[in-house]
Symmetry: C3
Subunit: 129 residues, 3 copies
Protein backbone atom coordinates (compact mmCIF):
# COMPACT_ATOMS: atom_id res chain seq x y z
CA UNK A 1 0.00 0.00 0.00
CA UNK A 2 -0.56 2.36 -1.66
CA UNK A 3 -2.27 0.50 -4.49
CA UNK A 4 -1.72 2.24 -7.81
CA UNK A 5 -4.12 1.84 -10.70
CA UNK A 6 -2.86 2.98 -14.10
CA UNK A 7 -5.05 3.61 -17.11
CA UNK A 8 -3.25 4.07 -20.40
CA UNK A 9 -4.08 3.88 -24.09
CA UNK A 10 -3.03 0.70 -25.83
CA UNK A 11 0.08 0.78 -27.98
CA UNK A 12 3.00 0.51 -25.58
CA UNK A 13 5.37 -2.47 -25.69
CA UNK A 14 5.76 -4.80 -22.73
CA UNK A 15 9.17 -3.24 -22.09
CA UNK A 16 7.69 0.26 -22.06
CA UNK A 17 4.97 -0.82 -19.64
CA UNK A 18 7.59 -2.38 -17.37
CA UNK A 19 9.65 0.79 -17.34
CA UNK A 20 6.57 2.83 -16.56
CA UNK A 21 5.60 0.64 -13.59
CA UNK A 22 9.18 0.41 -12.30
CA UNK A 23 9.55 4.18 -12.52
CA UNK A 24 6.29 4.82 -10.70
CA UNK A 25 7.28 2.43 -7.96
CA UNK A 26 10.57 4.22 -7.32
CA UNK A 27 8.54 7.41 -6.89
CA UNK A 28 6.22 5.67 -4.41
CA UNK A 29 9.20 4.60 -2.31
CA UNK A 30 10.73 8.06 -2.30
CA UNK A 31 7.58 10.09 -1.79
CA UNK A 32 5.91 7.95 0.86
CA UNK A 33 9.01 6.41 2.45
CA UNK A 34 7.60 2.89 2.19
CA UNK A 35 9.54 -0.39 1.99
CA UNK A 36 10.80 -1.57 -1.41
CA UNK A 37 8.39 -4.52 -1.38
CA UNK A 38 5.39 -2.27 -0.70
CA UNK A 39 4.45 -2.56 -4.35
CA UNK A 40 0.87 -3.00 -5.56
CA UNK A 41 0.17 -2.00 -9.15
CA UNK A 42 -2.56 -2.74 -11.68
CA UNK A 43 -2.43 -1.41 -15.22
CA UNK A 44 -5.34 -1.27 -17.67
CA UNK A 45 -4.83 -0.70 -21.37
CA UNK A 46 -7.74 1.02 -23.06
CA UNK A 47 -8.69 1.71 -26.64
CA UNK A 48 -8.30 5.34 -27.70
CA UNK A 49 -12.04 6.04 -27.85
CA UNK A 50 -12.56 4.76 -24.30
CA UNK A 51 -10.42 7.35 -22.57
CA UNK A 52 -11.56 10.91 -23.12
CA UNK A 53 -9.44 13.38 -21.20
CA UNK A 54 -9.64 17.12 -21.79
CA UNK A 55 -8.10 19.93 -19.70
CA UNK A 56 -10.71 21.88 -17.68
CA UNK A 57 -9.64 24.92 -19.68
CA UNK A 58 -5.99 24.79 -18.58
CA UNK A 59 -4.96 25.18 -22.20
CA UNK A 60 -3.23 21.96 -23.15
CA UNK A 61 -4.13 18.80 -25.03
CA UNK A 62 -3.38 15.17 -24.31
CA UNK A 63 -1.57 12.73 -26.59
CA UNK A 64 -1.92 8.98 -26.88
CA UNK A 65 0.71 8.69 -24.15
CA UNK A 66 -1.94 9.83 -21.67
CA UNK A 67 -1.74 8.19 -18.29
CA UNK A 68 -4.27 8.37 -15.47
CA UNK A 69 -3.00 7.26 -12.06
CA UNK A 70 -5.33 6.50 -9.19
CA UNK A 71 -3.61 6.08 -5.84
CA UNK A 72 -5.58 4.11 -3.23
CA UNK A 73 -3.98 4.71 0.14
CA UNK A 74 -4.40 5.29 3.85
CA UNK A 75 -4.03 8.97 4.75
CA UNK A 76 -0.86 10.67 3.50
CA UNK A 77 0.13 14.24 4.29
CA UNK A 78 -0.50 16.95 1.74
CA UNK A 79 3.27 17.38 1.47
CA UNK A 80 3.73 13.70 0.64
CA UNK A 81 0.99 13.77 -1.97
CA UNK A 82 2.43 16.84 -3.66
CA UNK A 83 5.90 15.34 -3.60
CA UNK A 84 4.51 12.21 -5.23
CA UNK A 85 2.79 14.16 -8.00
CA UNK A 86 5.83 16.33 -8.69
CA UNK A 87 8.33 13.48 -8.68
CA UNK A 88 6.09 11.27 -10.79
CA UNK A 89 5.87 13.93 -13.49
CA UNK A 90 9.65 14.39 -13.46
CA UNK A 91 10.53 10.71 -13.53
CA UNK A 92 7.95 9.75 -16.16
CA UNK A 93 9.30 12.53 -18.37
CA UNK A 94 12.87 11.43 -17.89
CA UNK A 95 12.49 7.66 -18.12
CA UNK A 96 9.37 7.17 -20.23
CA UNK A 97 9.20 10.30 -22.35
CA UNK A 98 5.78 11.15 -20.96
CA UNK A 99 5.06 14.88 -21.08
CA UNK A 100 3.51 16.72 -18.15
CA UNK A 101 0.41 17.29 -20.25
CA UNK A 102 -0.19 13.54 -20.39
CA UNK A 103 -0.18 12.83 -16.67
CA UNK A 104 -3.23 12.96 -14.47
CA UNK A 105 -3.28 11.83 -10.84
CA UNK A 106 -5.85 11.47 -8.11
CA UNK A 107 -5.86 10.04 -4.58
CA UNK A 108 -8.55 7.87 -3.01
CA UNK A 109 -8.02 7.69 0.73
CA UNK A 110 -9.22 5.11 3.23
CA UNK A 111 -7.91 3.90 6.60
CA UNK A 112 -5.06 1.53 7.47
CA UNK A 113 -7.54 -0.94 8.94
CA UNK A 114 -9.31 -1.16 5.58
CA UNK A 115 -6.43 -3.20 4.13
CA UNK A 116 -5.69 -6.90 4.21
CA UNK A 117 -2.46 -8.00 2.51
CA UNK A 118 -3.09 -11.70 2.88
CA UNK A 119 -4.81 -14.43 4.90
CA UNK A 120 -7.83 -12.20 5.51
CA UNK A 121 -5.84 -10.45 8.22
CA UNK A 122 -5.96 -6.67 8.68
CA UNK A 123 -2.21 -6.46 9.22
CA UNK A 124 -2.21 -2.83 10.35
CA UNK A 125 -4.70 -3.67 13.10
CA UNK A 126 -3.06 -6.89 14.28
CA UNK A 127 0.38 -5.33 14.47
CA UNK A 128 1.92 -7.48 11.74
CA UNK A 129 2.59 -4.19 9.93
CA UNK B 1 -12.97 16.51 -12.63
CA UNK B 2 -15.17 14.69 -11.88
CA UNK B 3 -13.63 11.56 -13.38
CA UNK B 4 -16.31 9.16 -14.60
CA UNK B 5 -15.68 5.45 -14.87
CA UNK B 6 -18.22 3.48 -16.90
CA UNK B 7 -18.58 -0.29 -16.81
CA UNK B 8 -20.78 -1.78 -19.51
CA UNK B 9 -21.32 -5.17 -21.10
CA UNK B 10 -19.66 -5.67 -24.47
CA UNK B 11 -21.83 -5.42 -27.55
CA UNK B 12 -22.31 -1.73 -28.23
CA UNK B 13 -20.99 -0.14 -31.42
CA UNK B 14 -18.35 2.59 -31.32
CA UNK B 15 -21.08 5.08 -32.27
CA UNK B 16 -23.28 3.94 -29.39
CA UNK B 17 -20.38 4.25 -26.95
CA UNK B 18 -19.66 7.75 -28.22
CA UNK B 19 -23.27 8.81 -27.76
CA UNK B 20 -23.28 7.36 -24.26
CA UNK B 21 -20.13 9.26 -23.24
CA UNK B 22 -21.26 12.49 -24.90
CA UNK B 23 -24.62 12.27 -23.18
CA UNK B 24 -23.08 11.64 -19.78
CA UNK B 25 -20.77 14.59 -20.22
CA UNK B 26 -23.61 16.98 -20.96
CA UNK B 27 -25.18 15.82 -17.69
CA UNK B 28 -21.92 16.47 -15.83
CA UNK B 29 -21.84 20.03 -17.15
CA UNK B 30 -25.44 20.72 -16.20
CA UNK B 31 -25.49 19.03 -12.81
CA UNK B 32 -22.15 20.24 -11.50
CA UNK B 33 -21.87 23.51 -13.42
CA UNK B 34 -18.35 22.72 -14.60
CA UNK B 35 -16.59 23.98 -17.74
CA UNK B 36 -17.18 22.19 -21.03
CA UNK B 37 -13.61 20.94 -21.12
CA UNK B 38 -13.85 19.46 -17.63
CA UNK B 39 -14.23 16.04 -19.20
CA UNK B 40 -12.53 12.92 -17.86
CA UNK B 41 -14.06 9.61 -18.83
CA UNK B 42 -12.90 5.99 -18.91
CA UNK B 43 -15.10 3.19 -20.19
CA UNK B 44 -14.55 -0.52 -19.64
CA UNK B 45 -16.35 -3.15 -21.67
CA UNK B 46 -16.89 -6.40 -19.81
CA UNK B 47 -18.08 -9.85 -20.79
CA UNK B 48 -21.58 -10.71 -19.61
CA UNK B 49 -20.44 -13.18 -16.96
CA UNK B 50 -18.08 -10.64 -15.40
CA UNK B 51 -20.75 -8.14 -14.37
CA UNK B 52 -23.33 -9.54 -11.99
CA UNK B 53 -25.82 -6.92 -10.89
CA UNK B 54 -29.03 -7.78 -9.06
CA UNK B 55 -31.48 -5.41 -7.35
CA UNK B 56 -31.29 -5.58 -3.51
CA UNK B 57 -34.91 -6.70 -3.61
CA UNK B 58 -36.19 -3.59 -5.38
CA UNK B 59 -38.06 -5.80 -7.80
CA UNK B 60 -36.48 -5.26 -11.17
CA UNK B 61 -33.97 -7.05 -13.38
CA UNK B 62 -31.10 -5.75 -15.46
CA UNK B 63 -30.59 -6.25 -19.17
CA UNK B 64 -27.38 -6.42 -21.18
CA UNK B 65 -27.60 -2.64 -21.50
CA UNK B 66 -26.57 -2.41 -17.84
CA UNK B 67 -24.30 0.50 -17.02
CA UNK B 68 -22.42 1.14 -13.79
CA UNK B 69 -21.11 4.67 -13.34
CA UNK B 70 -18.54 5.55 -10.71
CA UNK B 71 -18.03 9.26 -10.19
CA UNK B 72 -14.70 10.25 -8.61
CA UNK B 73 -14.97 13.82 -7.44
CA UNK B 74 -14.19 16.42 -4.83
CA UNK B 75 -17.16 17.10 -2.53
CA UNK B 76 -20.45 17.94 -4.28
CA UNK B 77 -23.65 18.90 -2.51
CA UNK B 78 -26.33 16.31 -2.01
CA UNK B 79 -28.53 18.37 -4.30
CA UNK B 80 -25.94 18.27 -7.07
CA UNK B 81 -25.47 14.55 -6.74
CA UNK B 82 -29.21 13.88 -6.88
CA UNK B 83 -29.57 16.19 -9.86
CA UNK B 84 -26.78 14.28 -11.60
CA UNK B 85 -28.41 10.91 -10.96
CA UNK B 86 -31.85 12.08 -12.06
CA UNK B 87 -30.66 13.83 -15.20
CA UNK B 88 -28.39 10.96 -16.16
CA UNK B 89 -31.27 8.51 -16.05
CA UNK B 90 -33.44 10.85 -18.14
CA UNK B 91 -30.80 11.58 -20.76
CA UNK B 92 -29.57 8.01 -21.12
CA UNK B 93 -33.15 6.90 -21.63
CA UNK B 94 -33.79 9.55 -24.23
CA UNK B 95 -30.55 9.44 -26.19
CA UNK B 96 -29.27 5.90 -25.65
CA UNK B 97 -32.41 3.89 -24.98
CA UNK B 98 -31.10 2.81 -21.59
CA UNK B 99 -33.89 1.99 -19.16
CA UNK B 100 -33.84 3.19 -15.57
CA UNK B 101 -33.46 -0.41 -14.44
CA UNK B 102 -30.09 -0.59 -16.21
CA UNK B 103 -28.42 2.37 -14.57
CA UNK B 104 -26.46 2.22 -11.37
CA UNK B 105 -24.43 5.12 -9.98
CA UNK B 106 -22.11 5.70 -7.06
CA UNK B 107 -19.88 8.56 -5.91
CA UNK B 108 -16.34 8.30 -4.55
CA UNK B 109 -15.37 11.57 -2.93
CA UNK B 110 -11.94 12.98 -2.23
CA UNK B 111 -10.56 16.52 -1.87
CA UNK B 112 -9.68 19.13 -4.49
CA UNK B 113 -6.03 18.95 -3.48
CA UNK B 114 -5.99 15.26 -4.35
CA UNK B 115 -6.08 16.05 -8.05
CA UNK B 116 -3.34 16.83 -10.53
CA UNK B 117 -4.44 17.57 -14.10
CA UNK B 118 -0.96 17.75 -15.53
CA UNK B 119 2.72 18.48 -14.84
CA UNK B 120 2.47 16.92 -11.38
CA UNK B 121 0.87 20.15 -10.18
CA UNK B 122 -2.08 20.16 -7.77
CA UNK B 123 -3.88 22.87 -9.73
CA UNK B 124 -6.57 23.48 -7.10
CA UNK B 125 -3.89 24.16 -4.50
CA UNK B 126 -1.65 26.34 -6.65
CA UNK B 127 -4.53 28.49 -7.85
CA UNK B 128 -4.28 27.48 -11.51
CA UNK B 129 -7.84 26.21 -11.12
CA UNK C 1 -24.25 -2.62 -2.28
CA UNK C 2 -21.51 -3.23 -1.49
CA UNK C 3 -20.06 -3.24 -4.98
CA UNK C 4 -17.14 -5.65 -5.28
CA UNK C 5 -14.44 -5.21 -7.88
CA UNK C 6 -12.18 -8.21 -8.48
CA UNK C 7 -8.86 -8.09 -10.26
CA UNK C 8 -7.37 -11.45 -11.18
CA UNK C 9 -4.76 -12.76 -13.60
CA UNK C 10 -6.13 -14.36 -16.75
CA UNK C 11 -6.20 -18.13 -16.96
CA UNK C 12 -9.24 -19.23 -15.00
CA UNK C 13 -12.12 -21.03 -16.69
CA UNK C 14 -15.62 -19.55 -16.79
CA UNK C 15 -16.67 -22.15 -14.22
CA UNK C 16 -13.84 -21.15 -11.89
CA UNK C 17 -14.75 -17.49 -12.21
CA UNK C 18 -18.38 -18.29 -11.42
CA UNK C 19 -17.41 -20.25 -8.31
CA UNK C 20 -15.18 -17.40 -7.20
CA UNK C 21 -17.95 -14.81 -7.56
CA UNK C 22 -20.60 -17.04 -5.99
CA UNK C 23 -18.32 -17.75 -3.04
CA UNK C 24 -17.51 -14.08 -2.50
CA UNK C 25 -21.19 -13.22 -2.59
CA UNK C 26 -22.05 -15.73 0.12
CA UNK C 27 -19.40 -14.05 2.27
CA UNK C 28 -20.94 -10.63 1.59
CA UNK C 29 -24.33 -11.87 2.77
CA UNK C 30 -22.92 -13.41 5.94
CA UNK C 31 -20.51 -10.65 6.89
CA UNK C 32 -22.71 -7.64 6.16
CA UNK C 33 -26.12 -9.22 6.75
CA UNK C 34 -27.47 -7.94 3.44
CA UNK C 35 -30.28 -9.40 1.31
CA UNK C 36 -29.46 -12.21 -1.11
CA UNK C 37 -30.15 -9.99 -4.10
CA UNK C 38 -27.77 -7.29 -2.84
CA UNK C 39 -25.21 -8.50 -5.34
CA UNK C 40 -23.02 -6.17 -7.38
CA UNK C 41 -19.81 -7.61 -8.78
CA UNK C 42 -17.37 -6.71 -11.54
CA UNK C 43 -14.38 -8.85 -12.39
CA UNK C 44 -11.39 -7.80 -14.48
CA UNK C 45 -8.95 -10.31 -15.91
CA UNK C 46 -5.46 -8.94 -16.34
CA UNK C 47 -2.32 -10.17 -18.04
CA UNK C 48 0.40 -11.35 -15.66
CA UNK C 49 2.69 -8.40 -16.28
CA UNK C 50 -0.08 -5.90 -15.51
CA UNK C 51 -0.58 -6.91 -11.90
CA UNK C 52 2.49 -6.53 -9.74
CA UNK C 53 1.81 -7.42 -6.13
CA UNK C 54 4.57 -7.89 -3.58
CA UNK C 55 4.28 -8.23 0.22
CA UNK C 56 5.44 -5.09 2.09
CA UNK C 57 8.05 -7.33 3.68
CA UNK C 58 5.55 -9.72 5.25
CA UNK C 59 7.56 -12.62 3.88
CA UNK C 60 5.37 -14.33 1.34
CA UNK C 61 5.05 -14.38 -2.42
CA UNK C 62 2.00 -14.33 -4.67
CA UNK C 63 1.09 -16.90 -7.30
CA UNK C 64 -0.88 -16.49 -10.51
CA UNK C 65 -4.02 -17.15 -8.47
CA UNK C 66 -3.62 -13.67 -6.99
CA UNK C 67 -6.88 -11.84 -6.36
CA UNK C 68 -7.34 -8.21 -5.42
CA UNK C 69 -10.78 -7.29 -4.05
CA UNK C 70 -11.95 -3.72 -3.74
CA UNK C 71 -15.12 -3.26 -1.74
CA UNK C 72 -17.05 -0.04 -2.42
CA UNK C 73 -19.56 0.44 0.35
CA UNK C 74 -21.35 2.78 2.71
CA UNK C 75 -19.83 2.68 6.22
CA UNK C 76 -19.49 -0.78 7.79
CA UNK C 77 -18.27 -1.43 11.31
CA UNK C 78 -14.70 -2.52 11.86
CA UNK C 79 -16.03 -5.81 13.14
CA UNK C 80 -17.99 -6.39 9.92
CA UNK C 81 -15.01 -5.55 7.76
CA UNK C 82 -12.72 -7.91 9.66
CA UNK C 83 -15.33 -10.65 9.53
CA UNK C 84 -15.59 -10.15 5.77
CA UNK C 85 -11.82 -10.41 5.29
CA UNK C 86 -11.49 -13.47 7.49
CA UNK C 87 -14.42 -15.33 5.99
CA UNK C 88 -13.40 -14.47 2.44
CA UNK C 89 -9.96 -15.97 2.98
CA UNK C 90 -11.48 -19.13 4.48
CA UNK C 91 -14.11 -19.60 1.79
CA UNK C 92 -11.83 -18.86 -1.15
CA UNK C 93 -9.37 -21.39 0.22
CA UNK C 94 -12.03 -24.01 0.65
CA UNK C 95 -14.05 -23.55 -2.52
CA UNK C 96 -11.54 -22.07 -4.99
CA UNK C 97 -8.18 -23.33 -3.75
CA UNK C 98 -6.92 -19.78 -3.32
CA UNK C 99 -4.20 -19.54 -0.66
CA UNK C 100 -4.18 -16.78 1.94
CA UNK C 101 -1.04 -15.40 0.31
CA UNK C 102 -2.98 -14.70 -2.87
CA UNK C 103 -5.77 -12.60 -1.39
CA UNK C 104 -5.64 -8.87 -0.96
CA UNK C 105 -8.60 -6.74 0.11
CA UNK C 106 -9.33 -3.06 0.58
CA UNK C 107 -12.42 -1.00 1.38
CA UNK C 108 -13.47 2.26 -0.23
CA UNK C 109 -16.20 3.88 1.84
CA UNK C 110 -18.78 6.46 0.84
CA UNK C 111 -22.28 7.31 2.10
CA UNK C 112 -25.62 5.61 1.54
CA UNK C 113 -26.90 8.65 -0.30
CA UNK C 114 -24.10 8.28 -2.84
CA UNK C 115 -25.79 5.26 -4.38
CA UNK C 116 -28.48 4.96 -7.03
CA UNK C 117 -29.60 1.43 -7.88
CA UNK C 118 -31.83 2.44 -10.75
CA UNK C 119 -33.98 5.18 -12.30
CA UNK C 120 -31.55 7.86 -11.09
CA UNK C 121 -33.12 7.57 -7.65
CA UNK C 122 -31.03 7.64 -4.47
CA UNK C 123 -33.00 4.80 -2.91
CA UNK C 124 -31.48 5.16 0.55
CA UNK C 125 -32.55 8.79 0.66
CA UNK C 126 -36.04 8.33 -0.74
CA UNK C 127 -36.83 5.46 1.61
CA UNK C 128 -37.18 2.83 -1.11
CA UNK C 129 -34.33 1.02 0.65
Amino acid sequence: MPLLQFDVIEGRSAAELKTLLDTAHRVVITAFQVPERDRYQILYENQRNKMIFLDTGLGFSRSDKLIMVRVYTSPRSEEQKRRFMTLLAQELQQHCGIDGTDLMVTFITNQKGDWSFGFGEAQYLTGAL
